[in-house]
């Protein structure tokens, strides 16, 4: 999927099929179809499924934050409710002879999310800004708290679990294997992402942007800002519900964790990390986050610290997110000056890598020295085993850190100059 800025949508006469627009979708679908042949292990499939679910959730969240300018602090509720509903449906399929093939289940999760989004949106979307954010926070907390009280629906502390394989089957597919579930999830991912992308290209999607940018002006053009926000909110709730349904299928259990503030906070973090101003932003955010969460956490206990630092750096230095960082390079590329950046980037790469790794190693060392149990003084970093209580590793790492920092600092001005000249446009005549 290409980096598409929603602001610069060209609106020329369009034939029915524009290959440059359809190609990214075809490529993404082919990639999704091919991935299990490369990463076929059970854990890889689980990670990819989780990634796909997070992508749908993040895209749905960005319908509010990026497209509609609404900051929600309680959005896990709509995904969670859709998920809980789907687990109950799975159980009805198993025990009450409800006829519902599993592939359609996420649709019902979506409808349930839509229903709740409509009810809550009716009052929460009256105002934008802080009022909306506070209501979303309150509603989120309310429903998360009621999950322990309304045991019949939320299952109390242990949650609700089900079995996805009990539904009617076709062609011998009963979704017992991870691979079958992967393809089902991938199918819903492409379908939902395409639907959300097209939504942003409809009159409603455009007006959602207009209300985000200037609600007063939009009102004086015949549009009720409140209805516009409500419709965005409902659409977002629908796609969150689909993500919830897929979660239910994948993990076969939903608990209070799926509804609480932490989950809501994470989706905000993911979307912002990826970049709210781009359609593809939440996708990148979800991929990066899931990788950090699943892969990095295998290697280090303090992965959340790295995630936090990455998030802080993004907010401070690249408010347009990781996608914004990529998009910054499109101008030099279009000007044909990208080659100017190659040498400075190459010169910077090694010292920057050493800087990042040595600071991470220092953190690991500190963590190990403070938290490892008594007597366990040996630790392994990058294949080297050493004593974390000895002085040598500290000295080596500090030297590496300071040295690489000095080199990075010395290289910085030339990189800056190269960046300036690569972005220099000849003034328009």
């Amino acid at each position: 999927m290409s980096v598409v800025s929603e602001n610069a949508s060209e609106a020329t006469q369009s034939p029915l099929i524009v290959w440059s627009q359809i190609l990214p979708w075809i490529m993404a679908s082919v990639l999704l179809a091919a991935l299990p042949f490369v990463f076929g292990s059970g854990s890889a499939l689980t990670i990819m499924n989780q990634m796909a679910i997070t992508i749908i959730f993040a895209l749905a969240y960005n319908m509010l934050l990026g497209q509609g300018g609404m900051l929600s602090f309680g959005h896990a509720v709509y995904m969670g409710l859709g998920g809980f509903f789907c687990v109950h449906l799975m159980n009805m399929v198993e025990y009450d002879n409800l006829w519902l093939p599993l592939p359609f289940l996420p649709l019902f999760g979506g409808l349930f999310g839509l229903m709740f989004a409509t009810i809550i949106g009716l009052f929460s979307t009256r105002r934008a800004g802080t009022v909306f954010a506070m209501i979303s926070l309150g509603v989120g907390e309310l429903i998360a708290a009621s999950s322990i009280i309304v045991v019949a629906f939320f299952g109390g502390e242990e949650g609700v679990s089900g079995d996805r394989t009990m539904g009617p089957t076709a062609l011998g597919i009963d979704f017992a294997s991870q691979k079958e579930v992967y393809y089902l999830t991938a199918f819903w991912l492409v379908l939902s992402a395409l639907a959300m992308f097209l939504f942003s290209r409809t009159p409603m999607g455009r007006i959602a942007n207009a209300v985000r940018d200037n609600e007063e002006r939009a009102e004086f053009l015949g549009y009720s800002q409140r209805y516009v926000r409500l419709i965005s909110f409902c659409a977002s709730g629908f796609f969150c519900g689909i993500a919830g349904g897929l979660f239910a299928i994948n993990f076969e259990i939903l608990t209070q964790e799926n509804l609480d503030l932490t989950s809501s906070g994470i989706i905000l973090l993911i979307t912002f990390l990826g970049g709210v101003g781009f359609f593809i932003g939440p996708i990148i955010g979800a991929i990066v986050f899931t990788m950090l969460q699943t892969v990095l956490s295998l290697y280090t206990e303090i992965w959340q610290l790295y995630l936090g630092v990455l998030f802080l750096m993004t907010v401070m230095f690249f408010p347009a997110g990781l996608t914004g960082l990529l998009a910054m390079h499109s101008l030099p590329y279009r000007l044909g000056k990208f080659s100017l950046l190659l040498v400075p980037y190459a010169k910077m790469a090694l010292p920057a890598l050493v800087l990042v790794l040595s600071s991470a190693s220092l953190l690991e060392l500190l963590f190990h020295a403070r938290h490892a149990s008594v007597g366990e003084n040996e630790m392994t970093l990058f294949g080297i085993t050493f004593d974390s209580h000895a002085l040598t590793p500290w000295i080596v790492l500090v030297v590496l850190l300071v040295g690489s920092f000095m080199i990075v600092k010395r290289q910085a001005p030339s990189l800056y100059d190269a960046w300036q000249s690569a972005n220099h446009m000849e003034p328009r005549s």
Binding site: N7, T12, M204, N214, E219, F220, L221, G222, Y223
Partner: protein, 253 residues
């Protein structure tokens, strides 16, 4: 259908104990170009906000084409054929010039809140948007982001957005404020072309612009009209000269 385009009767507005608009009566006929002038703080913008539904009147009524529009929301009033610009430029700064105009067209072309049609596929919508860009001489700026336009261009764009929906009553709040002489001439010409056969109500400080454009002038002082007549008669009205015009005219020379 001889009802006036705009009729205000006994209109009052107070904020707390402060009366801003005091018993204002006005009739603007269809196709008339009406200017509202008055010293700073006279309540001109408040009057605008009362007519366009941003504020609700404390007493009295506002009617458009003989229909009472009291208590209607701005978007409902807009749907009845009244469109406005703002004293402080009010556009969609992050969108392209083309998209700004297109947003102004969506409702009037019947798209409402639809999420089952793609805007780029709507040939008529694109054509109509380009026609309006042509009309306001901004075709060359079509794909630029509105926020980077010059001040005068942004004002012209706002007029474009305002007239895009085809409203038959156009209200402009100080369209030439802060502009140079040549820019003012350009905007006045623009207003004249795009409001042909429409009812125009404008607040303006520049006397040149007013005597150039307006069929009738109303003078608002301390929330009340002290005169409402043709430019020539208003100019010779003693009360007006005393309260406002004299000073302003002297300042002009």
């Amino acid at each position: 259908m001889n009802a006036p385009a705009i009729e205000l009767s006994g209109l009052c507005k107070s904020f707390g104990t402060i009366e801003i608009i005091r018993d204002v009566n006005l009739q603007v006929a269809k196709g008339e170009r009406h200017a509202i002038i008055g010293p700073n703080g006279a309540g001109k913008s408040t009057l605008f906000n009362l007519i366009t539904g941003k504020y609700t009147a404390t007493a009295g009524s506002v009617s458009l084409h003989g229909e009472n529009v009291q208590n209607l929301k701005p978007y409902q009033i807009n749907r009845r054929g009244l469109s406005r610009s703002f004293q402080i430029t009010n556009i969609f700064p992050k969108m392209s010039v083309f998209e700004n105009i297109r947003c102004g067209l969506l409702w009037s072309m019947g798209y409402k809140y639809s999420f089952w049609t793609l805007v780029n596929r709507q040939t008529k919508l694109t054509e109509r948007t380009d026609e309006i860009l042509e009309q306001i001489n901004m075709t060359s700026r079509r794909n630029d982001i509105a926020g980077v336009l010059t001040y005068a261009e942004q004002r012209a764009l706002e007029i474009g957005i305002t007239i895009a929906g085809g409203a038959d009553i156009v209200m402009l709040d100080e369209p030439t404020a802060g502009m140079s002489h040549s820019e003012t001439d350009y905007i006045v010409d623009l207003i004249r072309t795009v409001t042909q056969d429409k009812t125009l109500v404008m607040v303006e400080h520049d006397m040149g612009v007013i005597f150039d454009l307006a069929d009738r002038i109303s003078v608002l002082v301390y929330g009340q009209f002290i005169a409402s007549d043709t430019p020539a008669k208003v100019r010779s009205n003693e009360k007006v000269q005393e309260a406002y015009l004299g000073a302003a005219m002297e300042a002009e020379h």
